[in-house]
Structure formats: structure tokens, C-alpha cells
């Protein structure tokens, strides 16, 4: 595996990305964050902290597990471990920033959009991803991209965050059996 982004760069990327969000949504009271399990939740939490630091506002934050909204749930031969969805605020009329670590085929985002729509009718939904590795299968784009990393289909992008993995790093490489699969969407 090759490291392509290190911890300090992740911090810089999130800082920049957050300011782009603030520019796009001037009325921050309108905004709420929803992170996609698992690493999207922690990235959303970091974005929330950056906003709090600079603007003094603590935004609503929800977590979303899209397992039961996947379009391949019946086809895969095992049931993936699901996490709890926790969206304790009303999404109706809000601008939602959906956060995930890696944007790939777009299927996870599609499932997340389906799931969010069951909670209500947001005024708009924006998407932020730390890494865009290409190979979209759906017409889905992210409004805020940390870094574009061209990849091959056989490659894997691994985002490690200190909250889960004990370190901040992004790796790329061909998966081997002994590496744990991280957040590749």
C-alpha cells in the first residue's frame, strides 16, 4: 500500500473544504451534517468542529447507515454488519451536507439519498467527500472534493482516521487478504 495523503494534509483539506461549504451556504442555521457510516461520520464531526471554531455555531449532526438501502443486499452472500442510523433532527426544509470518505461508483450516495428522503424533504442536499477516486456508475457528483485520486479498478483506497484506526492517512494499493477493507465507496 502506498500513502497518498498524510495527516497534516487531511487537516488542510478539511479546513479548505469547510470554507467552501460556508461560502456555499451563507445561512449556517439552515445547514445540517449527515455522515455516512463509518468514516463519513467522523469526517462530518471534524467539519462540525471546524465550523464551530470559526463561526461559533454547533451544527446538527446525524449518522446514516445505508446497509438496508443498498441495491445489492439480496445478491451478496452475507449480511454486512449494520450500524445505527441516528438522525435526531428534522431534515425537512434544511440544507443537508452528506459526508463520506471516498466517492467511487456513486451507489452508496444513491442509497444515502434514498434513505434521507425517508426522513423528510430537505431543501437541498450537498455532498462532500475526502477522496474522489473516479469510476462513477451513477450520474452523481460531489459538491466538495478533498482530493481527486486517479485509480485502477483493481486498486483500493483506504482512508484511516485516528478515531477508528489510530492514525490519519490515506493509502492506495491492490488489496491483499491481510489488509482490512476500509471505506471504499
Amino acid at each position: 500500500m502506498k500513502r497518498v495523503i498524510d495527516g497534516s494534509e487531511i487537516a488542510r483539506i478539511l479546513e479548505r473544504l469547510t470554507f467552501q461549504v460556508i461560502e456555499t451556504v451563507p445561512d449556517l442555521k439552515e445547514l445540517a451534517l449527515i455522515g455516512i457510516h463509518r468514516r463519513g461520520v467522523w469526517l462530518a464531526e471534524r467539519i462540525r468542529k471546524i465550523i464551530e471554531k470559526h463561526r461559533g455555531i454547533l451544527l446538527d449532526l446525524g449518522s446514516l447507515d445505508i446497509t438496508f438501502f443498498r441495491d445489492d443486499l439480496g445478491e451478496i452472500d452475507y449480511l454486512p454488519k449494520a450500524f445505527s442510523t441516528d438522525i435526531s433532527f428534522s431534515v425537512t426544509g434544511r440544507a443537508i451536507l452528506l459526508v463520506d470518505d471516498v466517492l467511487y461508483t456513486g451507489r452508496t450516495v444513491k442509497a444515502a439519498l434514498d434513505a434521507i428522503s425517508e426522513f423528510g424533504r430537505p431543501s437541498r442536499i450537498l455532498m462532500a467527500a475526502l477522496v474522489d477516486r473516479g469510476h462513477r456508475e451513477y450520474p452523481i457528483h460531489a459538491d466538495f472534493i478533498g482530493k481527486k485520486i486517479p485509480t485502477g479498478l483493481s486498486e483500493e483506497v483506504l482512508v484511516h482516521l485516528s478515531e477508528i484506526d489510530g492514525e490519519d492517512n490515506v493509502y492506495i494499493g491492490v488489496p491483499s487478504t491481510d489488509t482490512k477493507i476500509g471505506g471504499n465507496s
Binding site: F68, G74, L79, A82, S84, A115, E118, F119
Partner: protein, 300 residues
């Protein structure tokens, strides 16, 4: 896992995986829009040879919340009355491309019999006096939500153990999880070989209630045979549970009942409606657990 036939066959990992999945589905059941597309396009057939409105409804709701099409097949009004065999009935339903078959049947082993002869995923919703695995899973799910952990708990099951599929499934699953299980009831309603179930038999009610969880079972005298219990009044006095009996139980003892409760027979109203009771939670949790089971099944 193609089928869920018996709690006896579940490993610790199987049980925890279903409980964890149920936990994440549980939140969906509390949304305004209680639906996920997980089983969209799938057909779930509820085939009930015994009447059980609440279990059937629970499975039906579970299927519908997963976006499956749920069809109820009431066997009493069907061709079985005209002499069609169980196997023929199943083959017919299978021919209509059902994906999941939920079977309730009065003969022990019926679900296994069908699962071995059908490509359709089968969920045992109760077979004779043998097993009712989703009830056990929802009981254990309810216990975990309250007690947070399972493995060091003691559970007492009171009532007709010998003819209870609920008791048997609970015993198997709880044993697998390393829980301690005590049984209490009149000797006519205890299993003939308690060693086979590896449970303790409580000598009296006082010993029985010294437990973290008490599951009281429904008494159906008309069904169990009048020989086994002289009268409901007598049963209630010596083997039922009321507030007085709970004096010797821990303050936070959790009371479960698979329902419907015979108030004043196996459980007094004050207990059924009291702070220790989780009977309605069981009903709610039943939907989440059954959704989790449906998501876990895979055709071979």
C-alpha cells in the same frame, strides 16, 4: 444461512449478528416513514397452519417494512382441508416464486421437513412443541436492550415448559450464549428429562424468582389437557406470579411474556402493566428481530 429453523442450531456469532442487525433496524421502526428497500421485489408468504394473529402480523409488518410483498396464506381456509399434503402446499407456493416462507405448524419438525425439501428460504414461526426461534431471539434482544449484556444473566422460565416451543428455543439460545436458565412449574408441565435441556429446576417459587429475568408462559388449559393442571385458580396460586412473589426477586428483575397474557393466571395485572414488565417492548422488538432474520437469509 438459508433458513431459520431452530435456535438450537444457531452459533453465538449467528445470534449476535442477528441482534446487531436488529438493533440497526430498530431505529427504522421509529421513523415516520418506516421503510427500507432491502427486500424490494421479494415475496414473503406467511403460511400459518395454526391461528396466531400477533405473530403473523409481526412477520407481515416486518416484511412490509423491508419493502417485500407479504402474502398471508391461512391454511384452515385452504386446500389442506381438501386433503392436500403439506409438501404439495409448499411446492405450489414455491411454484409462485415465493422467496421467504414463514411457517407455523402444529407438528414438531415440520419446518425442517419443508426446508430440506424446498429451495425457498424458510423461517420457522413455531413447529409443534419444538421451537419458535424468532420469539427466543426477540426475547434475548429485549433482555440485552435493558440489561446491556447477556452472558452472566440468570433467566427463569415459568409455566408449561414441556409443551412450550418458546421455552425450548429460549433455552437453546441462552445456553449457547452462556446464560443460566432455571425452570419452574408443576411437574406435569416440566420436561421429562430436564438433563437433556441442561437447565436447573427451581424447587419453589421463592427460588424461581431469584433471577435477573423471568419469562412467564401462557397457560392454555384447554390445549394442554385438563389432566395436567387441576384448575386455573390452583395454578395461579402455586405457579403464577404476582407482586407478593416478587418480594424475593431483585428490584430490577425484568418480566417477559410471549403473549397473550392470561391476566391473573400466570401473571397478575399489576405485574404485567408494572415497571418491571417489558411485554410491550417484546412486541415492538419482535418486528425488528424478524426484519433482521429476513435480511440474513440467503437462497443457496
Amino acid at each position: 444461512m438459508k433458513d431459520l429453523i431452530s435456535a438450537k442450531e444457531l452459533t453465538k456469532d449467528d445470534i449476535y449478528s442477528i441482534l446487531d442487525t436488529a438493533e440497526s433496524l430498530h431505529e427504522i421502526n421509529r421513523r415516520d416513514i418506516k421503510k427500507t428497500p432491502a427486500l424490494r421485489g421479494k415475496t414473503v408468504v406467511n403460511l400459518f397452519f395454526e391461528n396466531s394473529t400477533r405473530t403473523r402480523t409481526s412477520f407481515e409488518i416486518a416484511a412490509k417494512r423491508l419493502s417485500a410483498d407479504a402474502v398471508n396464506f391461512a391454511a384452515s381456509s385452504s386446500s389442506t382441508q381438501k386433503g392436500e399434503t403439506l409438501l404439495d402446499t409448499i411446492k405450489n407456493i414455491e411454484a409462485m416464486q415465493a422467496d421467504i416462507l414463514v411457517l407455523r405448524h402444529e407438528a414438531s419438525g415440520a419446518a425442517k421437513f419443508i426446508a430440506e425439501r424446498s429451495g425457498t428460504c424458510v423461517i420457522n414461526a413455531g413447529d409443534g412443541i419444538n421451537e419458535h426461534p424468532t420469539q427466543a431471539l426477540l426475547d434475548i434482544f429485549t433482555i440485552r436492550r435493558v440489561k446491556k449484556e447477556l452472558e452472566r444473566l440468570t433467566v427463569t422460565i415459568m409455566g408449561d415448559i414441556a409443551h412450550s416451543r418458546v421455552a425450548r428455543s429460549n433455552i437453546w439460545a441462552m445456553r449457547t450464549l452462556g446464560m443460566r436458565v432455571k425452570l419452574f412449574g408443576p411437574p406435569t408441565l416440566l420436561p421429562n428429562d430436564p438433563k437433556a435441556l441442561a437447565c436447573e429446576i427451581a424447587a419453589d417459587k421463592r427460588e424461581a424468582v431469584q433471577s435477573d429475568v423471568i419469562i412467564t408462559l401462557r397457560i392454555q388449559r384447554e390445549r394442554q389437557g385438563k389432566l395436567l393442571i387441576p384448575s386455573l385458580r390452583e395454578y395461579s396460586r402455586f405457579f403464577g406470579l404476582n407482586s407478593e412473589d416478587l418480594k424475593y426477586a431483585p428490584k430490577d428483575v425484568l418480566l417477559l411474556h410471549p403473549g397473550p397474557v392470561n391476566r391473573g393466571v400466570e401473571l397478575s395485572s399489576s405485574l404485567a402493566d408494572g415497571a418491571n414488565s417489558a411485554i410491550l417492548d417484546q412486541v415492538e422488538n419482535g418486528v425488528s428481530v424478524r426484519m433482521a432474520v429476513m435480511c440474513a437469509l440467503r437462497r443457496q
